[in-house]
């Protein structure tokens, strides 16, 4: 992290102390489900106030990481600390500091929106006027004020997520953990959800950690950890990670490309990998190569495009396989 950013973090969150410490620290974290290794020694830090994404295909290990951070699962090896507290040995202290929104909202569907918030507040020691104020605040922030009397079972998927978020915010957590928070939401609801999370993150000075399997979602995070098959394959800001790939990405489509891979490799030094119906490769002089390829391949080529590397390319480069193909065996 650049020094300037770090100082800004300090000023924002730990001005009084003048000492910087990670909000979350994960070291050599490993876990197996029977014979299946879900996490094989993962290390990363999350700074205070950061929006940190854990990106990976299904089965990559992100849900296991989430469950360990949320104190729901005890890892086989390694450690994780939230604000200096060990998630296993100081489970109770950690629980007082975190807010958690689960992938499938943890709501009581037989209770109203208001009642769900009320019971949740009680579990965190809130009552009386303090609880009422917090409930009002959470309802307003999540736009659920009008729905307060509705039963949770009558809410749409998007509104249930918002209620789940309202619950997590009720306790004013220092660290908010979100597990695949936008699964099942349409693109508009997804965008709205992230706008809300970002607003809240700034107004409440929260550190937010979210798991996701969506590349575009990860691209909106301050920093991301990319997990594949239980190992950390990338860590940094989306821009940093994309810059790690030198050059540009050329994408070729066409009926004859497959036949001429060896020729393309020899002539242009371009190692192409298939992705669906197209072929992708990285080269330093994208536009020049693209023009020469178009001449050379003639009718064997249908289209050629040049683009800056995306997180999908980062993932492909680090793992040797495409993001979409990874984790097909499910979780």
């Amino acid at each position: 992290m650049p020094q300037a950013t770090l100082n800004a973090e300090l000023a924002g969150h730990t001005a009084a102390a003048g000492d910087f410490s990670s909000a979350i620290r994960v070291r050599s974290l490993s876990h197996s489900y029977g014979a299946r290794r879900a996490l094989a020694g993962v290390d990363f830090d999350v700074s205070s106030g950061e929006l940190f994404g854990i990106l990976g295909p299904n089965g990559g290990g992100k849900s296991t990481t989430f469950r360990i951070l949320a104190t729901l699962l005890i890892p086989d090896g390694g450690n994780a600390w939230i604000l200096g507290h060990d998630v296993v040995r100081e489970r109770d202290a950690v629980r007082q500091l975190i807010g958690v929104a689960f992938q499938s909202p943890a709501l009581d569907i037989k209770l109203s929106v208001r009642e769900n918030l009320m019971h949740h507040g009680h579990l965190y020691g809130l009552s009386g006027s303090a609880l009422r104020e917090r409930m009002e605040d959470a309802l307003v922030r999540t736009g659920l004020t009008e729905r307060r009397a509705e039963m949770a079972e009558s809410l749409s998927g998007g509104l249930r997520r918002r209620l789940e978020l309202a619950k997590a915010l009720l306790t004013h957590p220092a660290v908010l953990l979100l597990d695949e928070p936008t699964v099942g939401l349409d693109p508009r609801a997804r965008e709205e959800f992230w706008r809300l999370v970002n607003e809240l993150r700034q107004s409440q000075q929260m550190t937010v950690v979210a798991t996701t399997h969506l590349l575009e979602e990860a691209a909106g995070c301050d920093r991301i950890a990319i997990l594949d098959e239980g190992t950390l394959v990338g860590l940094g800001s989306p821009a940093e990670l994309c810059h790690q790939i030198e050059g540009e990405v050329i994408t070729l489509r066409g009926p004859g490309v497959a036949r001429r891979l060896a020729e393309i490799s020899a002539e242009f030094g371009l190692a192409l990998q298939s992705e669906g119906e197209s072929w992708r490769g990285v080269t330093l002089a994208g536009h020049d190569v693209a023009a020469r390829l178009a001449d050379r391949l003639g009718n064997d080529l249908e289209s050629v495009s040049v683009a800056r590397p995306t997180l999908a390319d980062v993932f492909r480069q680090k793992t040797g396989h495409g993001f979409a193909e990874a984790g097909q065996d499910g979780q």
């Binding site: 730990t14 410490s21 729901l72 200096g84 009581d108 579990l123 009552s127």
Partner: protein, 285 residues
Amino acid sequence: MIGEKPAGSTATGSANLAGLRKATSRPWLATWSLLRREFVRFIRQRHRVFGALGQPVIFLLLLGGGLGGSFRNPMIAGRQGYFEYFFPGTLLLVLLFTAIFSTISVIEDRKEGFLQSVLISPTPAWAIVLGKTLGGTALALVQAVVILLAAPLVGIEFHPLAWLGAVGVMFVIALGMTALGHLIAWRMDSVQGYHAIMNVALLPMWLLSGAFFPAAGAAVWMRVVMFINPLTYGLSALRHLLYLREPAMSAGLPSLLVSVLVAVGATAATLAGAVFVTRAPVRGV
């Protein structure tokens, strides 16, 4: 690196921040809240209310009345008919069934995901267990009291103090049964599996408690099971209290003191077990 605390992780910066943000736990508030939730859920599910009030009456009339007409057990003392013998057993059955149905909510809560958010709250395990079990206990008690009010109709007349004592004993039994249900339901992920266990374990426990037939005259192995079955003592305490004026009616049973002590002890043990499984962290899956 494993087991080693990273330098600076207890920096005052985060400690200050944490101090401001820390949620506190008020266990009794949490218990009360969870208990209240059980009641609200119960009342909102109309069929459950109907079943809860209809069931005890049906059991009493069909089982007591029907069996009473068919059997004459020479071991049952004096003027007491089977219907009357069966009455305390019906109370016990109602307590048991409500315990079964109320702790199914543990599995439902897990499936709906609600349980996860309760588990990771700062609420201690004992408060979660008390909230869930007292909710079921209160529901069971309300039903059993409805039946108890009908006692004079089957010829049992008893002192108001004995009545209070009986309610107290029923509370202890109900709490023990819901705690046992919680203990079993906690690790289960399907309602069907839970029903299966209940049928092979809990119903025999009821049958061999003296609710259906007295120990005297039963086969030796049955008498052994009845002797070690905690429900025998709960039921015995109930019989003692219902027939406080007619000691002959509870002849052959353990004394009231022993009965109450064993019942309370068994309830304390199941509660402790329920807290233990609830506190146990999840390893593996």
